[in-house]
């Protein structure tokens, strides 16, 4: 019924680009983080050629990609469009007074966020290739598969972030939750350290969690840790998580709507 809902995807990129400071900060954070982690891995590898089947070049590629994939998102904080900020300034009610449901609205907004962060990843990847931080993909198949997997990862990350954000309907404050999530996600998604470095049983658990489907899977595909021939399984797991999380967030949205109805916006 409403014609141009897809245009809501432009909100997030538009807001990001409104301010030079924001772009500069994101650039600063991404670049410093990538370089710091690259240095850290090089230092750790100073006395070893290979750890858990990964050499220094792979480790640095991995770390760079993972840092890019996680840092360019979730930059908005207090000024972003989220349940949390809208509850803080008391304007969440408007989300429920428009001909686009809150859930759909947030989803289109999320599409915009994902596109924006993908642009950063693409730019960072290009720069990383030039600087030699990232090894080029082994083959066209690897490039294609990791791109698909990256896309699925974005969906998984969207749902995870959304679930955390929706907690704001129930708790007074979510700053703890958000920070905690940032860190857990950074660790369990494999953004800080490749998941194969974790002790065996822990790694087995962690690789099955949705966090891994967000970052670890696409980056592992790219870095060659998962061979294209064996990609079907991990990709299926990603799809599975997308579906599970979609159902879960839908349920939470319904309860959130009811919660709003109880509180009266």
């Amino acid at each position: 019924m409403t014609g141009a809902v897809h245009r809501l995807a432009r909100i997030a990129p538009l807001a990001e680009c409104m301010r030079g400071t924001r772009l500069a900060t994101t650039g600063f954070v991404v670049v410093t983080q990538v370089l710091l982690y690259a240095e850290l891995w090089r230092a750790l590898y100073a006395h070893t050629a290979e750890v858990a089947g990964l050499d220094v070049r792979q480790a640095v590629s991995y770390s760079t990609l993972a840092t890019l994939a996680t840092t360019a998102r979730a930059m908005r904080g207090a000024t972003g469009e989220s349940v949390k900020t809208r509850i803080l300034d008391g304007s969440i009610a408007y989300w429920f007074l428009r001909p686009v449901s809150a859930r759909r609205y947030r989803a289109w907004y999320g599409v915009g966020e994902a596109l924006y962060s993908s642009a950063w990843v693409a730019a960072g990847l290009a720069l990383g290739l030039v600087l030699g931080l990232v090894a080029p993909p082994a083959s066209a198949a690897v490039a294609a598969l990791s791109a698909v997997s990256f896309g699925l990862g974005l969906v998984v990350l969207y749902y995870l972030t959304l679930l955390i954000d929706l907690v704001a309907f129930w708790t007074v404050s979510t700053e703890g939750v958000t920070r905690f999530y940032e860190f857990v996600q950074a660790l369990l998604s494999g953004a800080l350290i490749p998941l194969w470095f974790l002790p065996g049983p822990l790694a087995a658990v962690v690789t099955r969690l949705p966090f891994a489907a967000g970052v670890s899977t696409p980056v592992s595909l790219y870095a060659g840790r998962i061979a294209p021939a064996g990609a079907a399984g991990p990709l299926a797991v990603q799809v599975g998580w997308c579906l599970v999380l979609a159902v879960l967030t839908a349920a939470v949205w319904r309860r959130a709507g009811r919660r709003l109805v109880v509180l009266g916006g």
């Binding site: 230092a43 007074v172 404050s173 860190f183």
Partner: protein, 279 residues
Amino acid sequence: MTGVARTTAGARTRRAWRAAGATGRAGLRERLADKADFALAIVNGVTYQVTVLLFATVVFTRFPPLAGWTVGQVLLVSSVRLLAHAVFVLGFTNVREIPYLIRQGRFDSFLLRPAPVLLQVCTSRFPLNAVGDLTVAVTSLGVCLSMLRLDWTPARAGFLVLAVASGAVLELALALCTAGVVLLRPGSEALFSWLDTVIGSFGNYPLNVFPAVLRAAFTFVLPVAFVAFYPVAAVLGKADTVPYGPALTLVAPLVALVWLGVGRWAWRAGLRAYRRHGW
């Protein structure tokens, strides 16, 4: 006008503290009002610290002993870092919440009240997650000290306490610097979590493992190494192994105070800019 003139600095401070106490109690009561919030906050603190520890542990177990430091010794660096962080969270974590306080409109009302803005920010909400942070930090420190079997002289114990204190002060100073930048340049809020990540990821190791660029950066630019590494080297009696000379192991409190001065200056500049141009 004599009445105003007679209001001593002491009385003003007392009044400020009373105001802060009142808002702090209100903040705590507000936090306790929501059971889910309460539980979540504590779980957060625990999980945050555990992830930091886990990362560090993975690195120690996967890679050969780090630059002549044993696992127990490196763990002491991490533990002191965690404890300093927990102390910081207990007192000052709300500094990181300033963007949200502004969005909420509360920050503006802080500017109007007769109490220091920083005090009001810090007491605006009781940091329940500090309880979780503290628990993990204390546990980790206990485990690591029992591994190390140090003989405790008063000097060593004093160094440890001083290490934690200056670590916390340093973290506060850096948070204030960031707050100053954020108030001055809206849109730079991401620096808060950047700072968190950098200290959380790089403050846990002996500085020796890093290449020269990072050693210099973490000593002279962003004082990450002073949060735990240098003072812990003093506690462990490993002062002779640190980069840039053993003297640095003793100056952590001094560095912390200097940075606190910088933080104070940045905070005031930020507040001035905020009052003038808004956000």
